[in-house]
Amino acid sequence: MQRGVFTQLAVTFGTISLMAIGGANAVVPEIHRQVVDLLAWMDAPTFARLFAIAQTAPGPNVMLASIIGWQVAGTPGLLVATLAMLVPSSLLALACGRGLRRWSDNGAVRIVTLALVPIALGLMLASGAVATLAADAGLFGYAITAATALVTYRSKVNPLVPMAVGTAGYVLVWLAGLA
């Protein structure tokens, strides 16, 4: 069955790679749909926790794929999922980078960007909504989500700060027996 898992990881993240308009933060709903709903590799809270771990690590946000690969099939799974997430979009970037240098057609880039920015933003908002529901952290959890969203919206503080405060707040409330 192991080979089946690796093939599935490669197929799932290989296709998601090419749908990640604006990066992995646009494809959280699709990753959730595939790994929780279709493949049943994990439940929604586990997915939300892995998402949180990936957000905590430094580096590009494609690492959500890496940690899901790790959860499903250990370090080999991590490598397969990471490569699957990186290779298709990178090949496209390589081809477009070369093509644009040759033709220097910046009008087309501008149209594509103009078209994709609103879609990418809508998808990012959808990712936030799906992650909120997946976290399944109860009423106080929603309050933390809202407070983190507000702080991120209003200030340019490093995202790790509201995340640390939110986590500590949730733990304290739990220790107090309220959550």
């Binding site: 998601i16 790679s17 990640a20 990066g23 933060n25 699709e30 749909r33 926790r49 949180a52 771990i53 990936a54 957000q55 430094p58 580096g59 590009p60 494609v62 690492m63 890496s66 790790w70 991590l78 990186l86 979009s89 970037a93 390589l94 070369r98 644009l100 910046n106 880039v109 149209i111 594509v112 103009l114 078209a115 994709l116 920015v117 609103p118 879609i119 933003l121 809508g122 998808l123 908002l125 959808a126 990712s127 936030g128 909504a129 799906v130 992650a131 909120t132 997946a134 976290a135 952290a137 959890g141 989500t145 983190t148 507000l150 991120t152 919206y153 995202p159 939110g166 986590t167 500590a168």
Partner: protein
Amino acid sequence: MPQMPQAAQAGPPSLPALFTGFLKIGLMGFGGVGPIARHIIVAERGWLDDRAYAELMGICQALPGANTVNAAVVLGDRFRGVPGALACVFALMAMPLLSLVALANIYDAFSSHPLTQVALTGAAASAAGLILGTALRLMSRAGLAPWGWGMAAAAFLAVGVLRLPMLPSLLVLVPLGLAAATFAARRR
């Protein structure tokens, strides 16, 4: 690491220079690699000026995948061909992946402890808020036209509320967006 004023230096940066530059971007990008990537590529290493960097990011944003990964591919390839692209992406991902494996192993070691699960539930709620807040901030500053707000709302509804599969959703949304963008660009 010494700050090398490479802007005056003739010829493209070497493979080791590309490697160390992107290694640093990956290592220092806690909570998002965007700002640090600009700092290292433009200010510290002088590989691109501000205008060329903006142009590069314009291309990278129009492509699927993480912007910084795409920038690593395009920049590495431009300076040193495919080996350059490979060196940049590998360097960018190396330290973050090692940190991720470390974090994952810490999680594994403590996952049976109830407090770990509570902390991670809190972290998950916060991480969701982070994405929501970032999306809202970018939306408020994107200067979207009415059709743009319509496209953003449609994408949010399709994928976030109705939970439709993403591929068919994009196959409808992207051509619509391209048509609207072409029309908007012509009218200007």
